[in-house]
Symmetry: C2
Subunit: 315 residues, 2 copies
């Protein structure tokens, strides 16, 4: 059975949802940075090229962190230069001013900083308090904005934290406000350990818009650890969110099992949005083919249900 | 990390959702009927017992089809008798009057017939037209109701069909009406090939309630083939549905890959409902332990993301 040839999913719009969603594709960066065996730069570049060929318009390419921290990203310069000609937005992560310098030297026009909503994760990931981390980002954001570079602020642990448990909504709102006041153009609200549920998503988004944050400045970044990513996305769409992070093939974040998933799979997202009649510009068949190609390179099947179903992929 | 010990997911109710959901657990029947190696009756019975111990109140036990069709269910009598003492509802499938006779002889108080919304599947599964199948069920339902036995009507292919593609909403409404007029107490709307998306779910439910069907008579049965089952469930809850079919561990329906999933995993559903503050009466830890036990027996990991995350199960 090839369901897409049968015109499936059937397009049936729902009330109160946006007409268009921009997918912020993180597979090439977030997806591959945890690979044990470093993926060759040429393969990463080809992956980004193929992703661009599917119609995705925002493809996070790499991260200018120190190679000591993430050896898999030591090729950031080479990779960026290999794909810089593509007619898509290619945001890159910059952890500090040194990272920003490297990105700007290559002509990057979109950068992202990554903050934490919780003290425990700020300490674990950045070796700083939440406020110390914000202070570190302040000059990064200021200098980027001075050059009219678009700045995204990632915020981790917006719903739950592996040390602290539930994360209070006001705590998240406070850090969001600080990032926006600093000059961030958009935020990505991360459910880093995948524990969010739809009511929690709705409550956080309502609190943020209630605090004066325009919904157009808010993206969502859900993990599928407990299978909740897509229902949480639906809740976010119902609140007017139009930027959704996803990872082709569900690459990245395999905390427990070889084929368990961290990131929401872009294909599963596109399937839902297509059914809802929400335009993404993405060719689902090409995207599945790209993920199958990448899965073959990595030597393990994609955890995306849609990739498996449409590729008849055997484990 | 043990997220549930951390009090996760955080409970944050959402507006407009039911306070309580009844899970119709299908793992023991729908989940195991496709196993290549027949599962021993004692293991099935133990599985049903353990499921009952989790707080599930409706556990579909088996199907009284002819053993020639589904040899895995040839032990229907033995299995039913082995679990009949449990203080839970134990519905059984009956394909025809002969199946009803067998179920009634054992004292079954809840039976289910299974119809198709499409001609192609009626032909493939029942070797009849849709109306011929309905005619076959008419005496089954009538005789069951005459004995005050509760009758569920399963309806397959409510959203898409592998031969016909998209299934028109009015066609589904017509067959639903016929089943209810015949005397069925409740319906289970099946997305047999997993192609539904939330707007389609909303449209079908709105059409049914618009046609005078009380939402309390409607259950939903989603498959996770494309990862859509939980977001579709959320859409159904938003329409007032309070009966949701699910399969412990996501057992059953592996059309493409060893660990691809057919049925919505009960654990993933319970995680969402728990986060939404919707009462199910189910102990998630016990349910995960039950699915891990069953997975060990079957020799392959559960496809449920929640089972994997909470059990740290390796593939």
């Amino acid at each position: 059975m090839n369901t897409t040839d049968l015109g499936l999913p059937m397009t049936v719009p729902a009330d109160g949802l946006p007409a268009r969603v921009r997918i912020h594709e993180v597979g090439a960066r977030d997806g591959l940075q945890n690979e044990k065996a470093t993926v060759p730069t040429a393969v990463k570049a080809e992956f980004v090229r193929r992703l661009a060929g599917t119609g995705l318009t925002t493809i996070e390419a790499t991260s200018f962190v120190h190679p000591k921290w993430v050896p898999q990203l030591a090729d950031a310069e080479d990779l960026y230069q290999a794909v810089a000609d593509l007619p898509v937005a290619l945001p890159v992560l910059v952890p500090n001013e040194r990272g920003l310098d490297r990105a700007l030297a290559l002509g990057a026009r979109r950068v992202a900083v990554f903050a934490s909503a919780t003290e425990s994760f700020a300490r674990a990931n950045l070796n700083r308090t939440v406020d110390e981390a914000l202070a570190m980002f302040e000059p990064v954001v200021r200098r980027a904005k001075a050059q009219d570079v678009h700045v995204r602020g990632y915020l981790s642990m917006c719903f739950g934290d592996p040390w602290e448990g539930a994360v209070a909504v006001p705590q998240v709102v406070r850090v969001c406000r600080a990032l926006l006041d600093m000059g961030c153009d958009e935020l990505s609200l991360g459910d880093t350990i995948g524990v969010a549920t739809p009511g929690h998503v709705t409550a956080l988004l309502a609190a943020l818009t209630g605090a004066g944050v325009p919904v157009s400045a808010l993206g969502v970044h859900f993990h599928d650890t407990y299978g909740q990513a897509l229902s949480n996305t639906l809740a976010a769409l119902q609140q007017g969110v139009t930027t959704v992070d996803a990872s082709a093939g569900g690459l990245g974040g395999c905390p427990y099992a070889k084929s368990a998933t961290g990131n929401l799979a872009t294909e599963d997202l596109v399937w839902m949005l297509r059914g809802l009649g929400i335009d993404t510009g993405v060719d689902l068949g090409r995207l599945v083919a790209t993920s199958v190609w990448m899965a073959a390179h990595l030597g393990r099947p994609s955890p995306s249900r849609t990739v498996r179903a449409l590729s008849h992929q055997e484990q």
